[in-house]
Structure formats: C-alpha cells, structure tokens
C-alpha cells in the first residue's frame, strides 16, 4: 500500500516537473510586454499620448523627427495582438496600430 502511494507520488511529481518544463517559465503578471507601432493624428504630443495610453501601455519612443506621428508603445496585456490592436484602435486620435514585429537577416 505504502509502496503504491510512493509510486503514485513520484509519478505525480514527475508529471508536475515535465509539465512545468513544457509550459516554460511562468508568465509575468499581465503578460510579457509587447511592442506596437502606433500612428496618431498630427498634433498629438507625447504627453497627450502618455495620458491616452494610461492603463493600456507605455510610450517608449517616438520614431524620431522623420515621422513625428509614429510612436512605439509597450503593452503588458495577456490578450492576443489582435485584441490589443482592436482595443487601441478604439482610442481617439489613433490611425494605425501594428505589432512591432521581429525581422531577420536572410
């Protein structure tokens, strides 16, 4: 009886270890931060943007002077990219939202 219990306990422990390995590290609360490129209406400054995105994401940089109405924002949200884009597009003054995807050398 005791032996069986030990076996079951070991099996459960193994399953737990393997499962946690497969799932990987625990996600940070609110999800891993993801970057999005946001095009806003001309005239919205960075301060207004920060207020606009309060509770949604953090403005991390404007795309320099060549494209003053483009900004990169960082969003920590467990929702999918599509859901986040839909959420951001509902904010006033937002024209385009795209994931800031990774691009690789070929």
């Amino acid at each position: 009886m005791t032996k069986s219990l030990i076996k079951v306990a070991i099996a459960a422990l193994l399953l737990l270890v393997i499962g946690s390995q497969l799932i990987g590290p625990k996600p940070e609360p609110g999800g891993t931060p993801r970057e999005f490129i946001v095009e806003v209406e001309t005239g919205i400054d960075r301060e207004q943007l920060s207020q606009l995105f309060q509770g949604h994401g953090q403005v991390i940089k404007p795309l320099r002077s060549l494209r003053p109405n483009l900004h990169v924002i960082s969003v920590r949200d467990p929702a999918s990219d599509t859901e986040i884009i839909a959420k951001l597009m509902r904010l006033p003054g937002i024209l385009t939202v795209e994931p800031n995807s990774e691009v690789r050398a070929q």
Binding site: E35, I37, E39, L63, R64, S65, L66, R67, L70, V72, T96, E98, P99, N100, S101, E102, V103, R104, A105, Q106
Partner: protein, 521 residues
C-alpha cells in the same frame, strides 16, 4: 528698327541658340547612353556559304554570285576581304546606315539557299576582369555576364546604395573607400548640423542601438534557436558581406570586387545580436532616412512573415521619391505567393524581389519563390565577399567568406540597379524593375518559380535598351560545376565542410546568411 526692337530680337536669337545647343548636347548624351556593349563595324557584313556548296563555291562566286549579292546591298557595296578558311567574304555596304536597312539586307541574304549565314561584323573586346586576387573565385560574375557588362559600365559614381542590415565594417580594406559620408554633418561636434534629426550621422546611423556608429559589432555567436553562446563571440558579418557584394573596391589588388566598382555605401544598422534580428520600426526609420538623405537604391536582405502596412507605405514613399528598393525573397523554401515573406512580397511597382540560384542555375534549396511575387533570380549560393574577421581586442580585420542566402542574391541585383541608375539616370524604379524582368537569361527550371522566368544577366540589363545582342563567347575562366562535383575553385574549398555543417546546425533556424565556405583573410 528701334533700339529696343533690336535688343529684343538679339535676346530672342541668343536664347533660341542656347536652347538649341542644349537640345543637341542632350541628344548626343542620350545617344552615348544608348550605346550597345557589342557594337559592329558600321556597314560591314560577313557572308559564309553552306558547306555542301563549298565544293563549287569558287565557280559560284566567279560566276557572278558575288555581283548578285552586292546588288542587294546598295550601290557602293564591295568585297573588302576574302575569308578562305570559311569560304566567306566580308562586304562593306556604306549605303546600309540604319539598323532596319541592315536587318532587311541580312534577311534577304539569309533567305538565299547557298548562304550559311550573313551577319554583322561584330567588334570584340577583352573582358573587363578586375585584377583583384579573389575575383576568379567569384563564380557568379561570369554567370551574370558581369565581365561583358563592365565593358559598357563598371562603376556608378555618385550613386548611393543604402545597406539596411547588421551594419558594415567601415574600415574593411575593400570597403573603406566606398563608404558614404554625409557631407552636411560635421563629425563629433554633438550638433545635428544638417537638421535631419540625427546627431553626428557622418557615416550613416545605427537604428538598432540608437547611435551614430553603423559598424559591425562583436556579438555572441548564435546557438540553436538563436540564443547567444555563453563564451564564443564573433563580428556580425551579414551587412558587410552585402555591402561588399554591391560595391567592394575593384582593381585595388585586395580581395574581390563588387558588382559596381564605384559606388557609395550608406551603412544603416537595423539588425543585431546572434542571429541578426531587428524590429520593424527600425527598418522603416532606416528606409525614411535613406530616402531623405540621398540614397538612390535600398537593399533589404531581411524579412518577416508579418506584414506591416506602415513599412509598405514607407517603401512606396521611397519609390515615389525615385529610390529603387531591392529585397530578398526569403530563405524558407516556400512560395511567397502562398506564404508571403515581407517586405519582398509587397505588391509595389519598383520593389524588386530576388530569389537565389546556385552555379547550375538551379533554384537554391532554401530559396523562396513565387511566380507572382518574386521578380527574378540571382546567384545566392557560395557567394564570396567581404566580412569582418579577427577578435574584438585587436579590432576587426579584413576577411572574405562565402555565404548562402537570398540575402546574397539581393545585393547582386542591387549593385546591378546601381549601374543602371548611373547609365540611365532618367529611368524610374518601376522602369528598372520592368527592365530587370526582361533582361534575364531564361531558365526552364525557373519558369514557374519567378515572374521573369530566369536569372539576372547584367550585360543584357545594361545593353537591352535596343535589340538584345548575343554576347561574344570568350575569356571565360570559371567552370560551371555539376551538382556532384566537389565545390573547389582554384584550390579553395567553398562547399560545406564538417565544421561548416556543424556551424549551420547551430545557427539560426531562419538560415540568416548561412556560412557555407572557407574564410579567406
């Protein structure tokens, strides 16, 4: 006539004369620009008899055959040389002045049952082969007929090509004289002298790191999954290789050569880390920078499966501003028509997407393809060119390496476009794309793989403003190898060895600029 009237008449005459002179000069320059690489002796035709007629040819020529031939070619036509070994003659026919007149005469002559061939007396030239030591190892130059093309134009002075990539080794022996210098920026004064939004951007910009140094960096080597190796480090080589393929210096007795021998490389670093990765925002900032700062050609040897409407818009803006954009089709061995790879797959006129072929004109096993979305193929296997070598404490040395990838095929086209921009400055990016599609060597195996159905031929591209002319066969030095043949050229093994194969297994799954060859330093 009053003084005012006289003055007015003189002024009008002077203006008319100046405009007339400008018009004549521009016509002359245009005519020069349209010159074919393979010219013929004006008014001369070579006529050869069919072999079965040779036995009694002397009687035929003697029996008035020559006179009959000459009568077809106008009043002043005469035999200027007898070619006894081929039983032929060279005829001078000064009355035949235009291409159409010569074509009509040749058609008539070739319709004669006794004539084997009648053709123009073409001029032959020595191939323009640079004297750099590794040129003979650059098999692709012969494949794309670069030596013939360089008779017409080998440099593109004044043309700036932006290399949007992992950075460029700015002090490489074969690149240091080719690096674009921003003329409106004073080095290291901490001021944005040209007010373009970038302080001290003298030799380009590093959008990856956010600074003014677009040099190749010393980074951790990639392990499986593009994780950084805990101890091993090396210099990023992708962008330096791309830059060298476009425009490494020629005839400096160092290393190899670029497709164009005189060009300015604008180094814009957007990728970095073990596998050369970067973000979309950096890339379209770099495209905007290149456009605003005078680049005429942009090379994008990079890509992603995710489309970006903002990047597409930036590329469209660049093309509208007259900038040609060349992009690698991708290294996933899939059809871009079905699974698009961006930016190459954006349906934008003037954006040229490039697949990779090997030395047998076979689509490279890694290359993406697409009859609708990939324009043409260019060599992209075992492409030898510049890379940084050495270790960080001692500084980067000038090295050479053979790499594989559509990343290596795209700069061959970008360099060719730079030559086109110099030769035909009035052409738009869409015109150049259209000419690239027409100027390929048709390859049966590529018919369903790329729009053009063939692989780049630089000689045709530079000379194809008129009727295509078959280039003379001479001076070839590189053998075309069979697939089973060992990949050895001039004693240097360019193929995969055990170490290279191991490196490849450990490198990026995206196959970024795979290392396939022996390094040469």
């Amino acid at each position: 006539m009053s003084k005012v009237g006289l003055l007015l008449r003189n002024t009008v005459s002077t203006i008319a004369f100046i405009f007339g002179a400008i018009f004549c000069i521009s016509l002359a320059l245009e005519a020069k620009a349209e010159r074919l690489p393979y010219e013929a002796v004006p008014g001369e035709i070579i006529v050869g008899l069919k072999s079965e007629k040779r036995a009694n040819s002397s009687s035929r020529w003697a029996a008035g055959g020559t006179m009959n031939l000459l009568s077809l070619l106008g009043e002043d036509a005469k035999v200027v040389r007898n070619l006894s070994t081929i039983d032929g003659i060279v005829i001078s026919a000064p009355a035949l002045r235009t291409d159409e007149e010569i074509d009509q005469a040749l058609t008539k002559l070739n319709a004669d049952a006794s004539i084997f061939s009648a053709e123009r007396n073409y001029l032959y030239y020595a191939d323009q082969k640079p004297a750099d030591p590794y040129v003979s190892k650059m098999w692709f130059l012969n494949t794309i007929s670069a030596y013939q093309a360089w008779r017409k134009r080998s440099g593109s002075p004044g043309i700036v090509v932006a290399v949007i990539d992992t950075g460029v080794q700015l002090n490489h022996d074969d690149l240091k004289d080719r690096i674009w210098i921003n003329p409106r920026e004073i080095p290291n004064n901490g001021i944005d002298d040209d007010r373009n939004g970038y302080i001290d951007d003298v030799k380009g910009w590093n959008f990856f790191g956010g600074n003014n140094n677009p040099d190749a960096e010393y980074v951790a080597k990639a392990t499986r999954g593009c994780k950084p190796h805990p101890t091993k480090r090396l210099y990023e080589n992708h962008g330096t290789h791309v830059a060298g393929t476009i425009g490494a210096s020629a005839n400096n007795n160092v290393g190899g050569t670029g497709i164009t021998h005189d060009v300015r490389i604008m180094a814009l670093k957007v990728l970095g880390g073990p596998c050369g990765a970067g973000r979309t925002d950096a890339i379209f900032e770099a495209i905007a920078y290149a456009t605003a700062n005078g680049a005429q050609v942009i090379n994008l040897s990079l890509g992603s499966r995710r489309a970006s409407s903002l990047m597409r818009r930036e590329i469209e803006a660049a093309i509208r501003a007259g900038v040609s954009v060349v992009a690698a089709a991708g290294n996933s061995a899939v059809s871009n028509d079905v699974t698009p790879h961006f930016p190459a797959a954006y349906p934008v006129d003037g954006l040229v997407s490039v697949a990779a072929t090997d030395s047998n004109d076979v689509l490279a096993k890694f290359s993406n393809y697409g009859q609708r979305t990939v324009d043409l193929a260019a060599p992209g296997v075992n492409i030898l060119n510049t890379v940084p070598a050495g270790t960080a404490p001692n500084g980067a040395k000038s090295g050479y390496k053979a790499l594989n990838g559509t990343s290596m095929a795209a700069p061959i086209v970008a360099g060719s476009v730079a030559l086109m921009r110099a030769e035909y400055p009035k052409l738009s990016p869409a015109d150049i794309e259209a000419r690239l599609l027409r100027a390929v060597d048709p390859v049966a195996g590529l018919k369903s793989s790329v729009r053009a159905g063939g692989r780049l031929n630089l000689a045709k591209l530079l000379g194809e403003s008129r009727k295509p002319v078959t280039p003379p066969k001479q001076g070839t030095t590189t053998k075309v190898r069979t697939p089973s043949a060992p990949r050895v050229i001039d004693g240097i093994r360019l193929g995969d060895g055990p170490t290279e194969r191991k490196n490849r297994r450990n490198s990026a799954p995206a196959k970024s600029g795979e290392i396939s060859g022996k390094s040469l330093y």
